[in-house]
């Protein structure tokens, strides 16, 4: 009986880990998809010289399709929307900046069991960088 009780307690504790592995796989898939979505958007921006409204809306739609648990207002998008041009010499002022972020809402699987509040169990996954414009002036 004692062994049964101890065994059940240990089983309860050990069940956290398979759940965490599953959550890690799901989050990894989401982040990999997000990386691919952002990369595609930055390549389009490079060929257009800026992030156009269509590109930004397409980016948001793709992110929302991949992250069904978030709303459009939670997506962080800080990108260059003014036209940038390809120059004969490298000029830092003519690069296209992007900072695109999305909240990952569940990082630890059994957070409440471990005493972690829901507000601490999320993080913002951000892709930030620069691409050079290919648009001729």
């Amino acid at each position: 009986m004692k062994n049964l009780i101890v065994g059940l307690c240990m089983l309860l504790l050990l069940m956290i880990f398979p759940l965490q592995s599953i959550l890690d796989i799901v989050n990894k898939h989401k982040m990999d998809r997000f990386d691919a979505i952002v990369y595609r958007a930055t390549q389009i921006a490079r060929t257009e010289g800026r992030f156009t409204e269509d590109n930004i809306q397409d980016l948001k739609n793709n992110i929302l399709a991949c992250f069904p648990d978030i709303t459009e207002s939670e997506i962080v998008i800080d990108v260059t929307t003014t036209p940038k041009y390809r120059t004969n010499e490298f000029d830092e002022r003519e690069v296209i900046y992007y900072k695109i972020g999305v909240p990952i809402k569940k990082i630890i699987a059994a957070n409440r069991f471990l005493g972690i509040p829901d507000s601490d169990n999320s993080a913002l996954y951000i892709k930030e960088g620069y691409v050079l414009s290919e648009v001729l002036p």
């Binding site: 062994n3 101890v6 065994g7 307690c9 240990m10 089983l11 504790l13 050990l14 880990f17 965490q20 592995s21 890690d24 990894k28 982040m31 990999d32 990386d35 990369y39 490079r46 390809r86 004969n88 010499e89 490298f90 830092e92 690069v95 960088g129 620069y130 691409v131 050079l132 290919e134």
Partner: protein
Amino acid sequence: MKPLIIGLAILILYCTFTITSFDLNMHQRQVIYLKHVAEELSISASLFFDYSSYSEGYVVFNEAEGIEALEWQMKKLLRLDANFIPLPNGYWTEKVDYIVYFYDDSLQFRVYNNGFLTDSGPFSYPYLHEDEETFYTLAITDPTVIVKLRASKPRYRASFIPDNITNVCSASHEWKGR
């Protein structure tokens, strides 16, 4: 007592597994990102031409400007300092090296290793670019820039993971239909 001890041992094993699994996922994502960065750098290095040759219908790369753009963007994207050593908020822990190959209508290939010219020579289209390190093979038929990045020591917290891992990624960008 026995289930408790065995359970604690399994708990420690599971913790190690979970942490290593997370580190592996992060490493995989950073290697894919390194490939994206290599692609982006090859594009950036190929954007600058020698316009006197271009006016005659030849695409000859302006390597000085291309390398300047490449180095600036590489430092920003991989979070490196002026000496290409990762900053504390970067993923890699040792200096990131790059090699860039320029093949253009001058019919002279040039190879720059961290900004220094290390090889050059004649070539003609079509030319087979082969990399013995990565087995990256490309048939050069048009002006092309190839960038190879070498990043070392990913972040693994488990001590049993060897720390001499080096990831190498290559990417190319070519100008077609001039």
